[in-house]
Symmetry: C2
Subunit: 524 residues, 2 copies
């Protein structure tokens, strides 16, 4: 997920842990996939290291810089006392509040953006241009506010620098001086983070510069996500968090043994915990970025605190976006009130089922008036002795079958060989991937509409089923654990129509259930 | 799993990743559990660090030593060339062969041990004493073979040392000399590993000492696991692997830029990959032990190679032990041949079901003649109109109900309130944990055997069911994904007895299926 949000960083290829630990995928993770991920990552890491070695000799221009670890901190953590721990706890609490506020504001802004973006391409482009201009104006305008500082004496680095890279930007300053705010703005985000994380540079940035930079980056991060450019949330949040941590560290400088650079790392952790709420992944990501195992206990503590604080206000930023997009995301566990319901309680809508050998007109009509993606198939006399559930057909497969126009005059069961003759192995696979045809693309004559088609060859005869009296909680667990899209509900007593309904993800959403049973909400 | 196998090491408390990544638990992992694990680990890590800080001032005696990272290597990895990569690949290949050989020999030895251990406590104790004597004899006898070396000039450490800790053991050597083999044997395993991993100590150990130590530790590791003491496999394997790597590193010394200490780390990785076959976990464990993110690409490469090589010979050591113990472990994926079978094909044994209101004698008889842990309950006339599946009762619950002796003269359905009156909330929970009563503990009079008991109140009315024509592959996936113990198979057509059979883990084992359908093996 987040790999793509880093631009131009080499670390992205080794982030196999984050894939492993991220929340959604942990459910469907397979051991074979783990092994393949590990294999590719190992190969990439070894090859990349070899190339970096090769490029370090200066043969590759700008590509020769950096290493596998993005923000390598020299591993020399000082001991910390009780007052430091208290400071870190307060840092975590405030970071959590800022993170929760970020999520709240982002939610509001994204709602506005989605209205703008829905108006079409011109609005989208206009919005993007506006944000670009604001970003440029901030980046170029704000450094004028900062005062010039004299270059540090005895520094290993060039000061001031004029080129693309380098820590001390001259901007409007006289020779021998640099502008701290410009050094942060006129750098790549990666270099700015590295600057903020660096040790032994207590006086590199003025307090006022850090403050202005923090507000600017926090607000720019908010307004940039959601416009029509491929941007992510990780780097802006880390940058804002690092600046915040550096401010706290500089403020507490006289009282604490911990370097402001380490405070910046903890600040970044607190913001990540407050917005993303993914403790383990963030921990691993920070470890990979900094190679700082010694800091792990403090990072974990800060993450815990900021996540707990921010959880009081709202949900994680990705959860919010899932809700906003209207995606029916099912939680891994069943809600407690589901134990008081049974599967047939939440089945909704009129059930539309097909006969094993069905009239083309009926099928076309059903596909036109509903958006269902799966239909139960039931054999009825004279094809079978009594009504009997055959299985489930998918809309996309029915469309492919109809497009073959292999219809019959009589309602009789066939051997199914015509499907094998007429269609190849991939004809059904491709439309199933979601890019298939639509019912509107197909036209049938009056005569064809009165003919019959045999659905047996394309019916899935082993759909997962539950009895109508099954506890809804257990049905939901089954649905989620197997990653289903349709779950057939069958009757308990014989002699009735052999299917009661179909459960889909939408039927299991809390909103739908609470709509059907308003009293549930009160009872628990 | 492995946390308990480290003795006296502080790192064990931060190994939450290994729990996360270990194979078995990845299936049933829940997001709430992750959060709780993270929480406890963070608290432990912070408290522990504070205590270590406190103890470093010398107030806690022997507890004051060490840190959170067990084998902290100074992070200064040299660049490596093509010849080094080739050396590392060969190291991985040989490590994989040694790992596979270890598994093969361990399997044979454990089979012998299990025969000895089954003879009772005296045999167990005798075996343990024998192994202890062999270990002591090796540890004390072998160092006599090694020659004395003069103490290194300008070393920071005391040499020779006499106490418990320290790297240079004097043993039989004159003053100013030390015995390298004794230094390895007369140390804790942790310190021995730290010695082997240490940098800039090319000449600390004689080649012959390393060779003798490697053979001794490899063999002792093999014979120690499986005796009646709480011992693990990780430390012996790491120790043998580190010695092997150090041997290779010393041999290649003149040709390679890489330090023998790093070769020792890679050797340990190759042995772990060759025996455990858990690539990701081992990678994380080695990272935690050494804080060496720079070495990760090489460690991954070695793990890949050694696992691939060893996989050609046999299965991982834990898989072997699972098979040897006779535990029916289900793979996460269904076998391909299962697609050609349906659920009712593998249902075995005569089906024993109870009526909703059943005669006590029938229940007692069924419990005595079978070892089944679950029985389907079917309502029959006159209790219901037609035979109808009510659900599933567990043996342990039936036993608790019988012990209540609340029997009736007539075959009538009750309100179930007597269960609530007679039993508390935990009466059914405790026997369900496996430490409950047995049917042999219960005695009934002739009169009681002729009476009836109502099973409805203790029946699980929402068991997971599959239709008899369900593909066996899909039934197996359902069984595994939900972690079931019983899966009811119901008939497809109405008018038959409402239950066809019960699937258990044993019915889904490849051995059982191949026993029923010998031709399957040939066909694929």
């Amino acid at each position: 997920m987040w790999c793509s949000s880093w631009s131009g960083s080499r670390i992205s290829c080794t982030c196999w842990w984050c894939t492993l630990c991220s929340r959604g995928s942990s459910i469907m993770w397979r051991s074979a996939l783990l092994w393949r991920t590990f294999f590719t990552t190992a190969v990439v890491a070894v090859v990349l290291r070899a190339l970096i070695e090769f490029c370090r000799k200066g043969k590759c221009g700008l590509f020769g810089q950096g290493g596998l670890i993005m923000f390598d901190l020299s591993s020399n953590v000082p001991s910390y006392g009780t007052q430091d721990l208290i400071a870190i706890i307060i840092l975590g609490v405030i970071g959590g509040v800022f993170g929760g506020l970020f999520n709240f504001l982002l939610d509001r802004i994204l709602r506005v953006y989605s209205i703008i973006n829905e108006r079409g391409a011109p609005s989208k482009i206009l919005l993007t241009i506006t944000i670009s201009i604001i970003t440029s104006a901030c980046s170029y305008g704000l450094p004028w506010l900062a005062a010039c500082s004299p270059c540090p004496v005895g520094s290993m680095e060039e000061c001031p620098t004029i080129g693309r890279s380098g820590n001390f930007k001259s901007f409007q300053c006289p020779p021998g001086h640099y502008n701290g705010l410009a050094s942060l703005f006129f750098n790549t985000n990666d270099d700015a983070i590295r600057n903020l994380f660096s040790r032994g540079t207590e006086n590199e940035f003025h307090m006022s510069s850090l403050f202005v930079f923090f507000i600017a980056i926090y607000c720019l991060g908010l307004v940039t996500y959601g416009i029509a450019v491929p941007s992510g949330l990780f780097i802006p949040v880390i940058l804002a968090g690092a600046t915040y941590g550096r401010i706290v560290g500089t403020l507490l400088g006289p009282m604490s043994d911990i370097d402001p650079g380490l405070f910046a790392l903890l600040g970044a952790a607190s913001f990540l915990g407050g917005t993303m709420r993914m403790t383990v992944s963030v921990c691993v990501i920070l470890l990979e970025l900094t190679n700082e195992l010694h800091m792990l206990p403090l990072v974990m503590l800060v993450l815990l605190i900021s996540k707990t604080i921010a959880d009081c206000f709202n949900k994680g930023v990705y959860d919010q976006i899932v809700v906003m997009k209207g995606l029916p995301f099912m939680e891994a566990h069943a809600e407690p009130y589901m134990r008081h319901l049974v599967a047939s309680d939440v089945v909704s809508g009129p059930l539309i089922s097909f006969s094993g050998v069905e009239k083309v007109g009926n099928i076309v009509h059903a596909l036109r008036i509903t958006g269902h993606n799966g239909f139960p198939v039931v054999d009825e006399p004279p094809v079978s002795e009594a009504p009997e559930l055959v299985g489930l057909v998918l809309r996309s497969h029915v469309l492919v079958l109809l497009s073959g126009r292999n219809f019959m005059k009589e309602k009789v069961k066939t051997s199914g060989s015509f499907v094998l003759r007429r269609f190849g192995a991939f004809d059904f696979a491709k439309p199933g991937s979601g890019k298939g045809m639509k019912i509107e693309d197909l036209d049938f004559t009056e005569e064809e509409m009165e003919m019959y088609v045999d659905l047996h060859p394309i019916t899935n005869t082993s759909p997962y089923t539950v009895v109508e009296t099954m506890s809804l909680a257990k049905a939901a667990v089954l649905f989620r654990a197997l990653g289903l899209r349709h779950l057939l509900v069958v009757p308990k007593t014989p002699g009735r129509f052999p299917i009661v309904g179909i459960l889909t993800r939408h039927d299991l959403m809390p909103e739908h259930i609470h709509g059907l049973f308003p009293n549930l909400r009160k009872s628990h």
